[in-house]
């Protein structure tokens, strides 16, 4: 029984004409699968490799390099909240903010809350230094994040 649904397969195939080699669709495929299933399972890796005519180890090699994708046995929360720890953010309170988020959510960076709603992460500089300290709500910047603003973010993401 395939783990990747027909829609995802179609979306992956739609990328193929863009590149002279199928392997170039590895990152787009990983993003599609990861966004949808909140993890990239070993079965999913095998199926991506089939579509791209690669050995599964090639997909796995690329995937693990980025340390971005959750894999077998791990799962992203419904939302992913990254707190920037870059120098510009650190100078304006990022470490205190990370402390606050870990305490309030009851998880360490890299972990998912018990209700499965939020995965907390630290990020290297996210390029939002004009709003430091900043967070990334999935892939969108949230600027000038105070402890209160972080608490509001948590309730928003838990709704």
């Amino acid at each position: 029984m395939a783990v990747l649904g027909p829609e995802i397969r179609e979306k992956i195939r739609a990328y193929l004409p863009r590149y002279p080699r199928k392997q170039a669709v590895t990152l787009p495929a990983l993003h599609l699968v990861h966004d949808e299933y909140r993890t990239v399972s070993n079965e999913a890796i095998v199926e991506i490799a089939e579509i791209l005519e690669l050995h599964p180890s090639e997909v796995h090699d690329t995937m693990t390099f980025y340390e971005f994708f959750k894999h077998d046995g791990d799962q992203l929360g419904k939302a992913r909240l990254w707190v920037c720890r870059g120098l510009a953010c650190m100078l304006r309170g990022a470490y205190e903010l990370i402390d606050h988020c870990e305490a309030k959510l009851g998880v360490k960076c890299g972990e998912r809350t018990a209700d499965g709603k939020i995965t907390l992460e630290f990020a290297e500089c996210i390029g939002a230094c004009d709003g430091a300290p900043a967070c990334l709500k999935n892939d969108e910047h949230v600027m000038n994040v105070t402890a209160e603003k972080a608490d509001q973010l948590f309730s928003e993401l838990r709704r």
Partner: protein
């Protein structure tokens, strides 16, 4: 006369990312004129003669890079846009992509015409979701308007632009790391030569250019070389290898300032003026201790150290052109991202943060970088806990001096960038580090552990 921004001229306008407004402001007229009246070589020559140097960090002359492509190649030739903007404290490309994507896209179209590339791969870091969606909407508008696709405006010129998202790895901003990542592999930089212009993406000749460079190409083709050369700093007559620092530049200001923001100025503004006049000055009425003049890789300057040969001036007064930061031991202008650290902040904490970044982002391919950045972080961690040793500082400088393409031990420049902040910080603030080791006091951040995540 007050300087009028060009690259940022449209960013405050309502609906600035939309094609309609961009065209109303004269957008794509340069592209359509070039398509009708000019040969590709004319565009290469104009960009070369303009003196434009790449805005991504290395400052290599853009037009000259284009001329390295093989002549009469059967193709395809590719253009890759480097929008992996990940150098810490840098965000100027993001402003352009979010607020005026068509200015960037027109530059890509002009550049592809110049180098005869039928495809541009626009590699954008994952963290720029808003920029990604804004650019995709702009690209869709261009296909609808038939300015992208087959036989544009009835000519033989066809072009596709594809966005390609990264996955949170700094090394993808190194041009051959970017190419490997685009190809679907781990982003390990390639040994050069061959340079990408000879053998790049999918083993074809490839040019990799930065986002702001593309916006400059648009403005050069629109306003001409006289305009471009009227801004900035001409070549230093005493340095025959200096190509000058012409044109407008986007500077980003971050850290301990009252108004962190992105500003456009002619190249060569001094660090002091940038912070005091444009960044609202140092916050909380404090003084600047150190400034990182162009992204972490460039190292630190000491705001109180006298500037050699210039009475009454300090390192804070260096001009931010391609040569200025080098005069005070920094690696270069880099991304022109200026980060200010106030006089109440511990250099141990600052340097720990720097080492933490490079250790996390070393791609692991070359041993001196992988091990060197890891050990520098371990030493800084120890120092941060109040357990620093006397000889730690010499060890740090020794490691920093030995990793990188300058000492010749690694494939790419990541570890030159990892070493430079370490050696400049320790050489310039040695007394502070020694006092911290002597005092044996732990930093307020010593117990914060951020390992094992993602």
């Amino acid at each position: 006369m007050a300087f009028e921004p060009t690259l940022l001229a449209r960013v405050e306008k309502p609906n600035s990312p939309r094609l309609e407004g961009y065209r109303a402001d004269g957008g794509y007229a340069a592209f359509e004129r070039v398509l009708k009246d000019k040969q590709p070589l004319d565009v290469v020559t104009q960009v070369k003669d303009s003196g434009l140097r790449g805005r991504g960090g290395a400052g290599f002359p853009t037009g000259l890079k284009w001329t390295f492509l093989p002549k009469d190649h059967p193709g395809p030739i590719y253009l890759c846009i480097n929008a992996d903007e990940s150098e810490p404290c840098t965000y100027n490309n993001r402003i352009l992509m979010e607020k005026d994507p068509h200015q960037v896209l027109e530059g890509i179209m002009l550049s592809c015409y110049a180098i005869k590339s039928p495809v541009a791969y626009f590699y954008i870091r994952y963290e720029y979701g808003t920029a990604f969606r804004t650019l995709q909407a702009a690209i869709d508008e261009l296909y609808d308007a038939k300015l992208l696709g087959k036989n544009i405006n009835g000519t033989n010129f066809s072009l596709d632009i594809y966005l390609h998202r990264g996955a949170g790895a700094y090394i993808c901003g190194e041009e051959t790391g970017l190419i490997e990542s685009l190809e679907g592999k781990r982003a390990w930089p390639r040994i050069k030569p061959p340079f990408p212009a000879i053998e790049g993406a999918f083993r074809k000749p490839t040019i990799v250019n930065n986002v702001e460079t593309m916006a400059c190409v648009t403005q050069i083709l629109r306003r001409g070389n006289d305009w471009f050369k009227s801004l900035g700093v001409p070549p230093d007559p005493k340095n025959p290898r200096d190509a000058g620092s012409y044109g407008p530049k986007l500077y980003t200001i971050a850290g301990h300032v009252n108004e962190p923001k992105c500003v456009e100025l002619p190249m060569g503004v001094t660090c002091r003026d940038l912070v005091e006049k444009h960044g609202g000055g140092v916050w909380k009425g404090r003084k600047a201790k150190t400034v990182n003049p162009g992204g972490l890789s460039m190292g630190f300057l000491d705001c109180n150290a006298p500037l050699k040969g210039e009475d009454g001036k300090t390192e804070y007064d260096i001009p931010l052109d391609f040569n200025g930061p080098g005069r005070v031991g920094c690696l270069g202008l880099g991304t022109a991202a200026v980060t200010v650290v106030d006089d109440q902040t511990s250099m141990v904490d600052v340097l720990h943060n720097v080492c933490q970044f490079f250790s996390h982002e070393s791609c692991g391919q070359c041993t001196p970088c992988r091990e060197g950045t890891g050990w520098m972080l371990k030493i800084l961690e120890r120092m941060r806990r109040g357990k620093g040793r006397k000889d730690d500082l010499d060890v740090l400088v020794d490691v920093a001096d030995r990793i990188g393409i300058i000492p010749g031990t690694t494939i790419c420049g990541l570890s030159d960038g990892a070493g430079w902040p370490v050696k400049t910080a320790i050489r310039k603030f040695r007394a502070e580090f020694e006092a911290a080791i002597e005092a044996k006091t732990a930093s307020k951040y010593a117990k914060l552990q951020m390992v094992g995540a993602h």
